[in-house]
């Protein structure tokens, strides 16, 4: 008989929870490792303690989904080995066995897995501009998380900027929470929104909600601007305003808006470091403009026994994440001899959502001309505080055409965040300088530890093996 099974799921967001549920239903008892204090992931993030708000108040139109996901996970607790506040910081290479290095309450553990489902999620995709490191500038996701999980707004008078469906949603949520929304600055031109018409056929609910948020913001007198490019954050030690340029029929206009906080982002970027350390093969994805672990329709990767699900395997949103979590678990079960009669239906549902995302991407396009107007002295890498000028100089003087080479010679992406906040920008900068496509400059190789670990951690190692 083979070794006992010890499936491990990393991440307890929509994908991780549905994957867990599916494995439990088949009689397995997975280990669930999650960095968060409470399960739910980012989109359905829960506060540290109950704050008296209803699901409706906290999650709005997605309240039903949030509640059902949280309840599903609560019900699973007796049947799983759940470890919150646990960082998986390394995965052994395929030829060195199936082992995770895990840090939890200051203790380093090594955990064997028989199968691994990575549900590592995503973070905001950001680009640098003058003043983006000023206190009071946050990502869009940060502003939403603060409201959802901490019951705070990131300022009193807030400007929202970027491209993506989250832009209008968060602005509306802030308005509802009592903050003053000074402006919504869409970096995409108004004409890009025509794509929503074709989306309305396939996903009327998404479009209706978007129109509702936009309309309510306008009725409340919130300035909405299109084709925006930021010029500079005003204020040195805290945000005092934003100067921006926008394209109008009459030519470019420059406007200044006073505010005490700015939240911005350009859709999401996947967290793929663990899949990389696991040795999974990657491919460049044109729509997400980033490298993703290769996966089949179920979430099988190129490494046997390693599966991916959710936004960490390609940005598709929370609904798709739930389905892909279930699919990855179904694939795992199939691979050990179980049936999965509903797999075809799940694949079809996920693919329908992916097609909607394609349209959304056209309605909220990435600003690929970004670096044409960002001043050279702007910080490119906020950890190492490397400027765009330094990045450009390294590219020119070192004849650099590959992103790891740029990292080696300029330090961009070498700091605490390991390129999470600057790799999109570095990719654009480098491919722009080389006049190639983003896919041509390669991807930053992940290194352990995928997030900082305490130097003193090594004194207490516990090894958990399959018994």
């Amino acid at each position: 008989m083979s070794e006992p099974l010890q499936p491990v799921i990393v991440g307890a967001g929509p994908a991780g929870i549905r994957a867990t549920e599916r494995l439990v239903r088949a009689g397995l008892r997975p280990i669930v490792l999650d960095e968060g204090q409470r399960a739910g992931g980012q989109i359905y993030r829960r506060p540290l303690i109950d704050d008296g708000r209803s699901y409706r108040s906290r999650y709005g139109s997605e309240a039903g989904k949030a509640q059902s996901l949280h309840q599903a996970f609560e019900a699973l607790l007796p049947q799983i080995d759940y470890r919150p506040e646990t960082l998986v910081w390394n995965i052994s290479a395929p030829e060195r066995g199936n082992q995770l290095d895990v840090l939890s309450s200051g203790v380093h553990r090594q955990i064997d897995f028989s199968q691994l489902i990575l549900c590592t999620g995503a973070t905001d995709r950001v680009l640098p501009f003058s003043g983006w490191t000023t206190p009071g500038v946050y990502t869009l996701g940060a502003s939403q998380t603060t409201l959802k999980a901490q019951g705070c707004t990131v300022g009193d008078r807030v400007v929202f900027m970027g491209s993506g469906p989250l832009l209008y949603l968060v602005a509306w949520q802030y308005m509802k929470a009592g903050a003053r929304v000074e402006a919504v600055l869409d970096t995409a031109p108004f004409t890009s929104k025509r794509h929503l018409l074709s989306l309305a056929v396939h996903a009327p609910r998404i479009v209706a909600l978007g129109l509702f948020y936009g309309l309510q913001l306008q009725l409340a007198g919130v300035k909405i601007r299109y084709a925006v490019r930021p010029q500079a954050v005003l204020g040195k030690s805290q945000v005092e305003g934003l100067r921006f340029r926008r394209r109008a029929l009459t030519g470019d206009l420059v406007e200044t808006i006073r505010c005490d906080a700015l939240a911005y982002g350009f859709a999401l970027r996947p967290e793929t470091q663990l899949a990389d350390l696991a040795g999974c093969r990657f491919r460049f994805d044109e729509r997400d403009r980033t490298w993703l672990p290769e996966r089949d329709a179920f979430g099988r990767t190129s490494r046997r026994d390693v599966y991916v699900a959710g936004d960490g395997s390609g940005i598709a949103g929370a609904d798709a994440a739930e389905i892909s979590g279930e699919l990855a678990a179904a694939a795992l079960l199939q691979d050990i001899g179980h049936e999965a009669a509903d797999a075809t239906r799940l694949v079809a549902t996920r693919e329908a959502i992916l097609r909607q995302r394609d349209i959304l991407e056209r309605a909220f396009p990435f600003p690929d001309d970004w670096f044409e107007t960002v001043p050279d002295e702007t910080t490119l890498c906020r950890c190492e505080e490397i400027t765009i000028a330094e990045g450009r100089r390294a590219i020119a003087s070192g004849s650099i055409t590959e992103i790891n080479r740029l990292k080696a010679l300029s330090r961009v992406g070498m700091g605490r965040c390991q390129g999470r906040m600057c790799s999109a920008a570095a990719t654009e900068l480098l491919s722009g300088a080389c006049a190639t496509s983003a896919g041509e400059v390669g991807r930053l190789r992940a290194q352990a530890p995928v997030k900082p670990i305490p130097l003193g951690f090594g004194t207490d190692v516990e090894t958990e093996v399959r018994t």
Binding site: S397, G398, R405, P454
Partner: protein, 380 residues
Amino acid sequence: MSRRLSVDVAIIGGGLVGSSAALAMRKAGLSVALVDKGYCGAQASGVNYGGVRRQGRPPEQLPLSQRAHRIWPQLKAMIGIDAEYVRSGHLKLARTEKDFAKLETYAETVRDYGLGLELVAGSGFAERFPWLSAKAVGASLCPEDGHANPRLVAPAFARAAERAGVTVLEQTPVREVTATGNGFAILAGDGVEIRCRQLVNSAGAWSDRFAAQFGEAVPLTRIYPSMVVTEPLPLRLPMSMGEQGGSFYGRQVARGNYVMGGGRGLPLGDPDYSRPSVTAASSVMQRAIALFPHLAHAQVIRFWSGTEAEMPDGNPVIGPSETTSGLFHAYGFCGAGFQTAPAVGEVLAELVTEGRSTTPIQAFSIGRFRKVAVETAASL
């Protein structure tokens, strides 16, 4: 992209040895092509610890090491950057009396080479090095040793060589190299043909392949460093550190990060690639905490590894081929080639222009492995 070149010298391998050799040869008036399968300085030259250290080397390496010691302060003039080179001092700790005795013996052995070693022990030790925990018996200080940024040095040599007129071909793996009687013919990359009178094999961990092609099999093995880097921290560690009888080494760079190593990384299925070992990294981290109590709350932000070449006797191969006229070898620096490499570049330039080195290199002759190679062949 097909391309034909005819040069005086072709150099296979754009590490610090190959890049500095290219620059030195070009300055001597030769036409040079420098060929690398990836990027110049991306392997051992770029992934090593960055120690610019003479202390601890065997005596036969010290003439070369002293020559390099005179080159390092001139980097800015030679290649346009100082590559963060600092003569911080290198402090080698002894944890026990026995280890300290070994440091004393070493200092005595290399007395005539001018390293300026200073042995520190006893009551003054703790006052002299207040940033250390007091667990060491003593130490040997080499005040003019130091460190530099390994990621920057070799690429800057390659770019300087290019500016001086060297043809630098990166991403151009050598597919075939043959002796033509009056020189060599190389096929590389996507249709690159190079003809040269003389050839340098400085391909690091990939050198054995080329040596074997000319009937000179060498017992080269691969080693992989296991490095640990902290977040930037207030400047506190003024010297590069090593240990007698221990494998820990560490330094703090000007930007504040502690760069530390010890033990070995592990090769992947494809031995061109490796990973740091968690076991080795944990040992490094524990030793760092023991040595530097002020790091108690520090965070580690990354590990790294890479591929280096090691020879069984701890010395590199440097010098002319014994089978093929016009061929020169320089590799196998056993994880300690960073400091000496710029001098090796000059030595190679002397070898190709004058046929002899002004610095003694007999100890590094490839001939010392002839017997080993014959035995290996016989056992097959």
